[in-house]
């Protein structure tokens, strides 16, 4: 099968590149081993500090609404971090003290939302907190297997019964000017977070839970729908196991599912993610890129891979695949002229594109633009 561009790795990076190329009239395919790091996405693009019309519109066309308002956002354990661009239901406050009094509400039996850490953190900022639990009959069946009472399971129920949460919170609310709820709303019905905010007479803040991330999965569903609606071919659950390269040009790739049926393309984008997604792998001696065997920037001395103080910045997180200025992948020091690398697989190699999800957006667009310029 032949495409204009084949994208290896279907996370945030791969989908944004795919959407951009399909919009420009290309015929593309995305091949992705499994699901991706959006399942852990906080909902905020930390490294993007400036407003960008192009990014906001790209997401909006897929039905993902972003807002730009530089400030700080609340982390799941009650601390704060600088942010400017985030999903609409992820608040960014001018200062950490976003209210006087806060009501923190969780569902009984749900262990993946850390209310007391949140309360401690908010109280440090001078806010008074009250914790309350909600019991909804609709959630009782989930509690039969408490190990599976997870964000997504709750979110599926909430798409139907969110109005009850509004009613119950209104009853619980005393003189608080803010309410903190877990991020379990708007998985399929994207209007739910907004309607909850309208229904509760206080500022409603949705705070992060343990994975899977509901805003992350929602983003993924919408981007994938957009990509397929534009005519893109998404091969889910398949893995590129080998590439066929000749004199600096990639001709085709072989996948686990299609065995001897090779996928050919004029251009390729490698966006297979970091260690989590196996875009990068390591053994006791080396850090490797497994599909093409690309050059990887890492420290020779293994003792310098990590910092023994767990909370410190970890050097291995900055290792990544090497690319030239136009993001052509480097192999044995030479660029492959039709292979572009984008997203977390770059690690900390290209600070000019930012880091984490912000880096993904910028490198995805950059790589797609390079292909379209050809």
């Amino acid at each position: 099968m032949r495409f204009d561009t084949v994208i290896i790795g279907g996370g945030l990076t791969g989908m944004l590149a795919g959407i951009t190329l399909q919009k420009a009239g290309q015929k593309t395919a995305i091949i992705s081993t499994g699901q991706n790091a959006l399942h852990f996405f906080s909902g905020s693009f930390e490294s993007i500090k400036e407003p960008s019309q192009r990014i906001v519109e790209l997401f909006a066309e897929a039905g993902v609404r972003l807002h730009y308002s530089p400030g700080v956002r609340l982390l799941p354990l009650g601390t704060f971090k600088e942010s400017a661009l985030a999903l609409e239901d992820v608040d960014i406050f001018p200062t950490p003290k976003f209210a006087r009094k806060v009501l923190i509400v969780n569902f009984s039996g749900y262990h993946d939302f850390f209310t007391s850490f949140l309360a401690d953190g908010l109280e440090k900022q001078g806010m008074t907190c009250r914790l309350r639990f909600l019991s909804l009959p609709e959630l009782e069946t989930l509690q039969q297997s408490p190990s599976e009472m997870r964000s997504v399971q709750i979110a599926r129920v909430m798409d139907r019964v969110w109005e009850k949460v509004v009613q119950e919170v209104r009853v619980l609310l005393k003189d608080e000017d803010a309410v903190v709820l877990p991020q379990v709303f708007g998985l399929q019905d994207t209007s739910v977070p907004g309607r909850i905010r309208q229904g509760i007479p206080a500022h409603v803040v949705f705070a992060g839970t343990l994975p899977p991330s509901v805003p992350g999965i929602r983003t993924l569903i919408l981007l994938k729908q957009r990509y397929q609606l534009l005519g893109g071919t998404y091969l889910m659950g398949d893995e590129v196991i080998r590439a066929h390269t000749h004199e600096g040009v990639v001709h085709s790739v072989a996948t686990r599912n299609l065995d001897n049926h090779y996928i050919e393309a004029a251009n390729f984008i490698l966006s297979t993610g970091g260690y989590f997604s196996k875009g990068l792998i390591s053994n006791p001696f080396q850090v490797l890129e497994p599909v093409f065997g690309l050059d990887v920037e890492y420290k020779e001395d293994r003792n310098q891979w990590y910092n023994p103080t767990f909370k410190e910045d970890q050097p291995y997180m900055h290792f990544g695949v090497k690319a030239d200025e136009n993001l052509h992948a480097l192999k044995d020091g030479k660029p492959l002229e039709n292979l572009f690398v984008a997203g977390s697989i770059l690690g900390g190699n290209r600070p000019e594109f930012g880091f984490a999800a912000g880096q993904c957006i910028k490198t995805a667009l950059f790589a797609a633009d390079q292909i379209l310029k050809k």
């Binding site: 499994g34 297997s145 190990s147 997504v152 659950g237 893995e239 997604s277």
Partner: protein
Amino acid sequence: MKLQEYTSSRHNFEECMKCTVCTAYCPVLQANPLYPGPKQAGPDGERLRLKAPYFFNQALKYCLNCKRCEVACPSGVNVADLIQSARIKYDTTPPKLRDRMLASTDFMGSLARPVAPVVNAVTGLGVTKTVLDATLKIDRHREFPKYSSRSFERWLKRRRKEQTVFPEQVAYFHGCYVNYNYPQLGKDLVKVLNALGVGVQLLEKEKCCGIALITNGMSGQARKNANHNVAQLRQAVLDKGLKVLTTSSTCALTIRDEYPNLLGVDNADVRESVLLATRFIFEKLEKGASLKFKSGYHRKIAYHTPCHLERMGWGIFSEKLLQMIPGVEFTLLDSNCCGISGTYGFKKENYEVSQAIGEPLFAQIRSVNPEVVACDCETCKWQIEMSTGYTVMNPISILAEAIED
């Protein structure tokens, strides 16, 4: 070594990093609170089961074996294989009469076929359904697949001569459904392949692929079928140099993947030659062969990717083939399980869960409102037809309808 025995398992068990991604994609977890979910039933449970079989949980029987957890897992853990293997290894309860009946598709087929009109009339009766529901716990809402009085094998055997004139030959693993219930699909395949200059042969003697035996706790019988079929495949592939095609995504997955992974039956020398017919046809067309389509053909088609095809990653061939037909208006339905999963949905205790699982798919079909739903799986066909009233056709039958006679 003891330590190894207590800590290691197959199916990429060690790769699990507890990321919870699989739990977001299990259709049963969304509909049945008694099911512990893929992570718990799969890698987490396996860790305990390795220590002591006591930890085996009967609730594992609720797993559909749809393999959506495997498609979603970023670490390549074969979650469904872990679950099905645990059922094979630890579940010692003998299968019920009903499960044995539901699982024995070829045996039931050969019994029913000669008296097909009677069987069809009887299984269609309200009173029969009530009795089956009460005695065997086969849900009364189910329509039984109709039996055909002429088997496909007989039909093709009569045409053996005319098939041998084609320069290229393939073997066809038709499966129980085409043989006993719906020979027309097999005839459609023969029409399309003949139009491409390819003649169709039978295997000397095929047996049911065995998927229903596996999921109904009869892995011993399944292994016998697997060994028999692999020997047959070797004859076709190694001795005669043929490719072996199927029109059922589940037969294909079972023969290619469940044989080695669940039943321990080695098929490495023939695996790559067992193909879904749509893939074979797509590849022929890609290499320059062509089909003559009727002019003025028009169909609004919504394509549903069956779970097992999703796992094999070959849905793309059926999709692209349908999109190639002039006059086809194509919609790709979101990838969701229809809920039937072979014999699972026939069981009374699963009926409601089965329908709840399928509802998002049914709702989308209703909103797209196609003329036909296309799908490569026979049990999806029963489920979607019963639950939505829309006609479901195999992509091969749509191709056969669209090309000139």
